[in-house]
């Protein structure tokens, strides 16, 4: 199935954006204004839907004219492109999106044709599937690990590096005792938050 690589699903959705304006602002501009202010870190709506590896939203205004002798043509509608890479199956993901990120989903997709709202997550999932374009070829560098497994592995990696550094020159017995403590800490560590980027605060 071309939408999937291993355990990762590559969803591509093109939602037609309403023509005209809402309160003097065109619907595509309203989407862009909202997205510009939406946090991209652990406060992101996609961090709430924790199976999301990477996701993007793009207002596609038109197709591209590449120059003569190609023919120049234009779209009749603008489209909201939703590209996301997540663990698990499509229905569960879309239902979670409608339920766990309801406010943000509504703020964006209310500007799209045929959007049914998020009150009924099954109706929202059906709507998104009507807008889905099947992926022709999907590549995932790591396709057998979940988001949580990856976040945990990254935490373990930095923890072990720190452990090795701080125990240099100690006796085998001391390292063994310290390692037991380190292992306990690793095993009982809370789930690392998704989207966290301490160095780049996003507003």
């Amino acid at each position: 199935m071309p939408n999937q690589s291993g355990n990762v699903y590559g969803l591509t959705v093109l939602s037609p954006i309403l023509n005209g304006a809402d309160g003097g602002v065109s619907h595509d501009c309203a989407i862009r204004d909202y997205l510009a202010k939406l946090p991209r870190d652990q406060r992101s709506p996609f961090a709430k839907v924790s199976s999301t590896h990477l996701a993007r939203l793009v207002v596609m205004e038109d197709v591209v004219f590449v120059g003569t002798p190609a023919r120049e043509e234009h779209l009749q509608s603008k489209y909201l492109v939703f590209e996301t890479n997540f663990d698990g199956d499509l229905d569960t993901y879309l239902t979670r999106l409608a339920r766990d990120a309801a406010e943000e989903v509504h703020a964006v997709w209310q500007h799209c044709v045929g959007y049914p709202g998020v009150e009924d997550p099954a109706a929202f999932a059906a709507y998104m599937k009507k807008c889905q374009i099947e992926t022709t070829f999907f590549f995932a560098a790591v396709n057998n690990k979940t988001v949580q497994q990856t976040l945990r592995a990254l935490k373990v990696q930095s923890g072990l590096a720190h452990f090795i550094e701080s125990n240099q020159g100690k006796s085998a017995g001391e390292i063994q005792a310290a390692f037991r403590g380190f292992l306990e800490k690793v095993r009982h560590a809370p789930e690392p938050p998704a989207g966290e980027d301490e160095g780049h605060p996003h507003g």
Partner: protein, 198 residues
């Protein structure tokens, strides 16, 4: 507009394609998807988290209401989405260097595609057909693709070591610990903030 989040760049491109060529391109992708050795170069590039090509046929743009104007297009369109580490220039250069044959096989059906080499013409074309991202999220912004692969190797090695060293005497533990350090030392590079402009 925000093509970058942490160490990852979101690229979008759209190219017009004569509908006559669509079945040929789909066949190429089908073969690429089913003959894994053909993906070796893509895997070895190792700075792409996820990438996809999506063919949108000219009558396939979603129409959800009678009030929505019907698209009247001559071309089918090839959409390309990539999530990669590094700068745009590094990505296009590496793509053109390592995958020029593969790129040509995929994009030669698109109107006015100049070929992956020379790279100056290729970059001009990509610049023309690329469009910007409005919102970009990644669950692990501080990690590159190689960081993720390395972290999973370290995690697996640590689990194995923990299992095997459970009942060892200190002297034996010391030897095993040194072997663990030797095994994972190349995978312990720190993750963190990407360089400015990356």
């Amino acid at each position: 507009m925000t093509n970058i989040n942490g160490k990852t760049y979101a690229m979008n491109a759209i190219t017009p394609m004569n509908a006559f060529y669509t079945p040929i391109l789909k066949l190429i992708f089908f073969i690429l998807g089913h003959v894994k050795p053909l993906q070796a170069d893509l895997i070895q590039l190792s700075f792409i988290h996820f990438a996809r090509w999506v063919v949108v046929k000219r009558h396939q743009f979603p129409r959800l209401s009678e009030k929505q104007p019907q698209e009247q297009l001559h071309y089918d369109y090839l959409l390309f989405f990539s999530n990669f580490n590094g700068s745009w220039n590094q990505y296009i250069d590496a793509f053109a260097d390592v995958l020029s044959n593969g790129l040509n096989l995929i994009w030669r059906w698109s109107a006015r595609y100049p070929g992956a080499r020379p790279v100056t013409d290729f970059k001009r074309y990509i610049g023309l057909v690329q469009f910007d991202t409005d919102y970009y999220y990644t669950a692990y912004p501080r990690a590159t693709t190689n960081d993720v692969k390395a972290a999973h190797r370290v995690s697996a090695a640590l689990e194995e070591f923990a299992r095997n060293s459970k009942d060892m005497a200190p002297a034996e533990f010391g030897g095993a610990y040194l072997r663990l350090v030797t095994q994972v030392q190349m995978d312990l590079g720190a993750t963190g903030i990407g360089p400015v402009g990356a």
